[in-house]
């Protein structure tokens, strides 16, 4: 870790004394030493298809949906029926375990369909939008004038609360059990990830108000993690009331789990909350505008799409009319989120609640003659076993082929090279596979999340589905230990 000077406001001046942060004066400005955390291990996957930094308004989609499956571990209880008229902010369903946690309509309109799956499992509540987009009124005002309970209640009632999630387990935060800290990653290093500097540009006030609200609901710190090396948006660097940490290095430096691990790792029995930078804006707007304004920018990315731009949408928008497909060759997979951790959606599906990105990649259901023997100038690998490793900087049209079959563990050290935490990933995976609870705890299962293993899964020679294994491990721990 090294230190860089960073200019701070008077408000953080006081915080410096409390935190024992080193500081000094230069001329008229107070300069405080900030932490830079340098991540060495990892990999930026050179997938082709980054979004241009142009924002296009696409606010009126053909439908909007809220899908309970976006919220891990949720048992929803429905509050509306088909034909009901709703406003933006009208509750659609709630959490059976925590009835205070409401899930509300992102836009106003009519509930046109309630999709159910096997055993009548609730899949989606679909809304046909009206053009006015009327909303439920909430109290306007600076969060500083609210009490902690008032802020929490306003977030719960407006249906914005679920933007805050908890580690371990990545479930919706429990409003009754405060965390030791809140973490916001203001950058994403996943393949073709949206640029949060671009997303928050011009929204400094909303961001600051959002941070103010968050700072009031926790006694611990609010950590805002921004990239070092580039010139991060002033929206982030001028934020007050949060501790700013700088991170440098390849993916997964932008993963909040990695950041937590380097700043304040989760010990057994502890929890932290986290949310995306874009959702901080949503919280800010709740207090500034007094309504649930679910608008957000999403990046349309990937090798199979032509109009790669940022689209301004409301949360849960149908994606049908967004992408212009590059239909030149193959079938396309639509991924809500990024290519490492996102989930597959149908071409007429809806963008996920937590996703700020839509990625379209070609399906890879093709055989190749002696593919494993080819020189492979067009095959990307972390392992340097293909000639493509002689072509640095090249971008690849990666598809969904597994490039091999499931095998037992053979290669070692591969996960470690892309896993920048003080944890033995392969041994943790083995502990999960044999369901050894104590060993899982000892090897750090509380500090990890499936997404932290996405890069290991990408690089795995034995083609193991590690995110699934980690998810099962966390479920097991949660069931046994609560």
């Amino acid at each position: 870790m090294t230190d860089v000077p960073h200019n701070l406001s008077v408000r953080d001046f006081a915080a410096c004394f409390n935190n024992n942060t080193p500081w000094y004066f230069t001329g008229l400005e107070l300069v405080v030493m900030q932490k830079i955390i340098s991540i060495k291990k990892g990999l930026n996957i050179p997938l082709e298809g980054e979004a241009e930094k142009i924002s296009v308004s696409a606010l009126l989609a053909e439908s909007y949906a809220l899908n309970p499956s976006d919220f891990y571990g949720l048992t929803p209880k429905l509050l509306v029926k088909e034909g009901d008229k709703v406003l933006a902010g009208t509750p659609l369903f709630y959490d059976k375990e925590q009835p205070k946690i409401l899930f509300t309509a992102p836009v106003s309109g009519e509930v046109i369909e309630i999709k159910r799956g096997e055993k009548r499992k609730l899949l989606s509540v679909v809304i046909l939008p009206d053009k006015e987009n009327r909303h439920v009124e909430f109290r306007k005002g600076n969060p500083v004038q609210f009490t902690t309970d008032e802020i929490i209640n306003q977030l719960l009632e407006s249906g914005i609360w679920p933007v805050i999630r908890q580690r371990p387990y990545s479930v919706i935060a429990d409003p009754g059990s405060p965390p030791k800290a809140i973490f916001i990653s203001a950058f994403d290093t996943n393949p073709l990830a949206p640029d949060y500097d671009f997303i928050v540009h011009g929204h400094g006030e909303e961001f600051q108000v959002g941070i103010d609200a968050l700072a009031k609901i926790v006694s611990g710190k609010v950590h805002l993690n921004i990239p070092h090396g580039s010139t991060p948006s002033k929206v982030f660097t001028k934020t007050t009331g949060a501790q700013i940490n700088f991170f440098s290095g390849p993916h997964p430096a932008g993963n909040v789990g990695v950041q937590i691990n380097h700043i304040d790792p989760i010990n057994k029995g502890e929890k932290v909350w986290y949310l995306s930078a874009q959702h901080v804006l949503t919280i800010g707007r709740l207090f500034l505008e007094g309504r649930y304004n679910s608008s957000k920018l999403i990046a349309l990315t990937g090798p199979s799409v032509k109009n790669r731009k940022y689209f301004k949408i409301f949360s849960g928008a149908c994606i049908r009319n967004l992408p212009e497909l590059d239909r030149s060759s193959f079938e396309v997979r639509f991924i809500s989120g990024n290519a490492l951790t996102g989930h597959t959606v149908t071409p007429g599906g809806w963008i996920g609640f937590y996703d700020d990105q839509l990625t379209l990649v070609p399906e890879g259901d093709r055989q190749e003659f002696m593919g494993w023997m080819m020189p492979g100038f067009d095959k990307f690998s972390f392992s340097k076993t293909f000639f493509s490793s002689l072509l640095p900087g090249k971008k690849y049209k990666l598809d969904t082929n597994t490039h091999g079959e499931d095998r037992p563990f053979v290669v070692t050290g591969q996960y470690e090279d892309v896993f920048p935490m003080d944890i033995y990933p392969q041994h943790l995976i083995k502990a999960i596979l044999i369901k050894d609870l104590e060993l899982m705890e000892n090897l750090g299962i509380y500090e990890v999340d499936p997404e932290d293993f996405a890069l290991c899964e990408f690089a795995c020679t034995s083609k193991m589905n590690l995110q699934k294994i980690v998810r099962e491990g966390l479920d097991y721990v949660r069931k046994e230990c609560g």
Binding site: L47, P265, N267, K268, G269, E270, A339, L340, T341, T344, T359, V361, E363, G364, D365, R366, Q367, F369, G371, W372, G376, K379, F380, S381, F382, S383, K384, T385, F386, D399, N401, T402, H403, G404, E405, R407, P408, F409, V410, V411, T412, G413, E416, D422, I423, Y424, H427, N442, L443, G444, P450, E457, F458, T461, S462, K463, N465, L466, Q467, K468
Partner: protein, 390 residues
């Protein structure tokens, strides 16, 4: 290619569930995925995946072994004609070796893969690629005079008891190729020690030059190390020894391939070389005075160049399944192999080489080394838990 695909597609239903050869699915599948990388797509987790798989990894190792194999073929001929006093060129030497060594390779692969296929069919799991490398390593650590039936018996033994008994590829404790060699070493010592390191089958009118010994170039170590072959020969590999182990240049090329591609662990290679050197220096310092021929006096760097040290460090100790798996563990594991290989060489008067046994020994201890490395990670974490007040 289309026509091969058509044949495979035509017979495929017979091997699928309900087909008449349903049981042989693993065998069919092994051929199919060997010829055509499967059209399988990601169903869960990361949507895109790295291009590398076990086939690619293993073929890189085989590629890295090729310099050793080709040099070994040439050297077999060279050593043969050297002692029979026949003037020969590059290709005559090479073809002599090719004819001698090719059958050993075939026997190794056929016997080993037969066992692999039987177990795959019996257990209904896909045929794993692990044996592709083992099957090449076994011939390279044999003397050229090894009887073929012995290769077959040793290979079958190593694959069944060394690997399949533990659950197959990825589950074995001992390096299967070294286990095959150790099997012959203990079961048929006469065929793998003594004067076996040169093929002396004589052609018409040939005879062996006077005073020649077919012993390994290392045999003199225990009597007077000054009689070791000159440094140049040790490096280029024009000496007698196991087929693949003699040329340090060929091994260096292989090591380079493994290191550049990231397949071989540089940690193990480096620490094993350092371990050997350190022990060599240690012996230099405690060598008995007044006995300049004693092997303890051997200059430490010679340990890198004689016997199977380099080959073992590059191709055997680095086997990821049987080595230590943690990065810290790899340093310890490699270092200890280096140290013990030199101890066995110098202290054991009965047999001049110790690399094989040192590697097998630490194959067994690798999990223990990892255990302690991981325990220190665990105690660090538990300490952190206890230091925070909850």
């Amino acid at each position: 290619m289309k026509f091969i695909r058509d044949i495979l597609d035509k017979i495929k239903p017979d091997f699928e569930k309900g087909g008449k050869f349903e049981k042989f699915w693993p065998a069919y599948n092994a051929f199919d995925v060997f010829l055509f990388t499967p059209a399988e797509t990601t169903q869960t987790g990361s949507h895109i995946r790295d291009a590398v798989d076990l086939k690619r990894t293993m073929s890189v190792v085989i590629l890295a072994l090729m310099p050793c194999l080709f040099f070994g073929m040439w050297n077999t001929g060279y050593q043969h004609f050297r002692v029979t006093g026949v003037e020969t060129g590059l290709w005559e030497n090479f073809f002599f070796g090719l004819i001698k060594i090719f059958p050993i390779i075939v026997v190794s692969y056929v016997s080993g893969l037969t066992v692999e296929f039987i177990f795959a069919i019996k257990r209904g799991h896909p045929v794993n690629e692990g044996f592709l490398v083992t099957g090449m390593l076994i011939p390279l650590v044999m003397p050229v005079t090894i009887p073929l039936w012995m290769v077959a018996v040793a290979t079958v033994f190593a694959v069944i008891l060394g690997k399949e008994a533990f659950g197959g590829t990825g589950m074995n404790v001992l390096n299967p190729a070294l286990l095959a060699r150790a099997f012959i070493f203990f079961a048929y010592p006469a065929q793998i020690s003594g004067e076996v390191w040169n093929d002396l089958t004589l052609g018409e009118g040939q005879k062996i030059i006077n005073g020649y010994s077919g012993a390994t170039s290392m045999a003199v170590l225990d009597y007077d190390y000054h009689n070791l072959p000159p440094l140049n020969d040790l490096i280029t590999g024009t000496i007698q020894g196991s087929i693949g182990e003699t040329s340090k240049i060929a091994i260096a090329i292989g090591a380079l391939i493994l290191l550049v591609t990231g397949i071989g662990s540089w940690r193990i290679m480096l620490s094993m070389f350092i371990g050997g050197l350190a022990m060599g220096f240690f012996f230099n310092n405690i060598a008995p005075a007044g006995n300049p021929a004693h092997p303890m006096n051997l200059p430490a760097y010679y340990h890198w160049l004689i016997g199977g040290f380099a080959f073992g460090a590059v191709f055997m100790a680095t086997d990821p399944v049987t080595a230590a798996q943690t990065n810290t563990g790899k340093y310890i594991y490699g270092f200890l192999i280096g140290v013990f290989a030199v101890i066995l060489r110098v202290v054991n008067p009965a047999y001049p080489e110790g690399v094989m046994l040192a590697i097998l020994f630490f194959n067994v201890f690798a999990p223990l080394i990892d255990h302690y490395v991981i325990q220190s990670n665990i105690s660090r974490r538990v300490k952190r838990w206890n230091s925070t007040d909850r």
